[in-house]
Symmetry: C2
Subunit: 265 residues, 2 copies
């Protein structure tokens, strides 16, 4: 049952498999999601961002307090998920992603040393292999998170995107790190990862014109998590990720609540 | 590490606590969330429901496929979470809920036998005590889910709400089961539960005029999950819930992705 997280070993035949639910009580969950508000960052050409409108707020005639709001947002902003259909015509839509794609053991690859000195840095296969040399090969079906260090700039648009300008023309002036398409291919084909996330606005670097890392990952039905928060709080491996996007029927992506479970033992 | 869910008992001092991350690998996740689309059910007086608008959809000049949408929705519709501020002036806002309130061991109390024959049925303390007689006392900090059986009607508005009418006047004609305020008080004060959810549009029954169950739960900073899906797939106890609402700053509630982890053992 669920009342204790310790597992007795007095009955060997039972203790071969520990009670998985009991041991979950010892997990600490860390929120990797930014809140949505008027400061939430969107791609520069979005005419509007996140909006929250009050429908009711205050005491009712019935004598009790009541508040309720309505919201609107582009799918792709703040901490959000890119569904494969975002860049792949036959890719999965947001509501078609399976929970086993969105949950699982995860690793954190810290590339901040290189990324923070070069706004146009692209995470390459060499960076992944360097991590593996220290931490072992990324297991199949892992969720791979990259820490560029740019999360510390969020939500300062100029520091995070490389420009504070808005509109279509601002897109040419974006400078932030991303994933090299070859590394994306390596993760998809050689490591068969379930999902990829990072602490920048896009899987591709700011100067990308063809979003090739997106195309590669989504072509393999691998979803992406963008603007992931608090990656500085994670170890290199040995943690579990639950990534639950709003379940938008037919969505190309959407607001994502992503959390990491770290053992407290 | 994360590669195995079995726990060896050869080293007694280690096996006292199972590896929580290994335990997660042995869970099967069940989605308790409906997708958001044009059929998503909202309270009858909402002028609009869920709307998804295409920003881009098709081949780009760059020769790759691209789709992107924008959405709008009232906070309270479909599978969603009520934050305490929804009915309690000093209650937690949506983004203030802690992850330890939204994750944890859960129980399912099936009241469908009574609820399906009486659209105005209210889950009372006796129903909870009857469940406890068979399953043991609800542990403190549990997430408590009630199955009324009305989930099978979703999204048929007439069968689910008791009326297909829309507008303010339709509210008087709502007939669906909910939680009796005394049972809410029992759960809050005697069982110190973390959260409560059910497969109806509201914690309170359709004929409620004062939303007293809401007031009691939210007055204790206990969030509610409404329009929860797939409760027929859960056991009475021994499962784990992760409930991740969209993180709306200052929200009174919002779209919820809620999943249950059931042991595969």
């Amino acid at each position: 049952m669920l009342t204790a997280w310790t597992v007795s070993c007095q009955a060997p035949e039972e203790s071969k498999t520990a009670d998985p639910l009991a041991s979950l009580a010892s997990l600490e969950w860390i929120d990797l999601s930014y809140a949505f508000d008027s400061a939430t960052l969107y791609w520069p050409n979005n005419p509007t961002g996140f909006e929250l409108e009050a429908e009711a707020e205050g005491m009712t005639e019935g004598g009790y307090f009541y508040s309720s709001y309505s919201l609107s947002t582009p799918e792709h902003g703040g901490t959000h998920l890119d569904a494969p259909i975002h860049f792949s015509e036959k890719g999965q839509k947001l509501d078609e992603l399976r929970l086993d794609q969105l949950t699982g053991a995860a690793v954190l690859i810290d590339v901040s040393e290189l990324a923070l000195v070069d706004r146009d840095y692209r995470i390459d296969t060499a960076a992944i292999l360097a991590w593996e040399k220290e931490n072992g090969q990324i297991p199949e079906h892992s969720i791979v998170l990259f820490r560029t260090g740019y999360g510390k700039f969020y939500p300062d648009r100029e520091k995070y995107f490389g420009t504070a300008k808005m509109g279509l023309e601002a897109i040419l002036e974006l400078h932030f790190p991303g994933i090299h398409p070859e590394a994306a291919q390596f993760l998809a084909e050689k490591r068969k990862v379930n999902a990829v996330g990072l602490d920048t606005p896009s899987l591709d670097f700011g100067q990308s014109k063809d979003f090739a890392a997106h195309q590669v990952l989504m072509g393999h039905n691998i979803p992406g998590f963008e603007n992931v928060a608090n990656l500085d709080q994670l170890p290199a491996s040995g943690f579990y990720v639950v990534a639950l996007p709003m379940k938008i029927k037919g969505g190309s992506g959407g607001p994502l609540r992503v959390i990491a479970g770290v053992g407290r033992l």
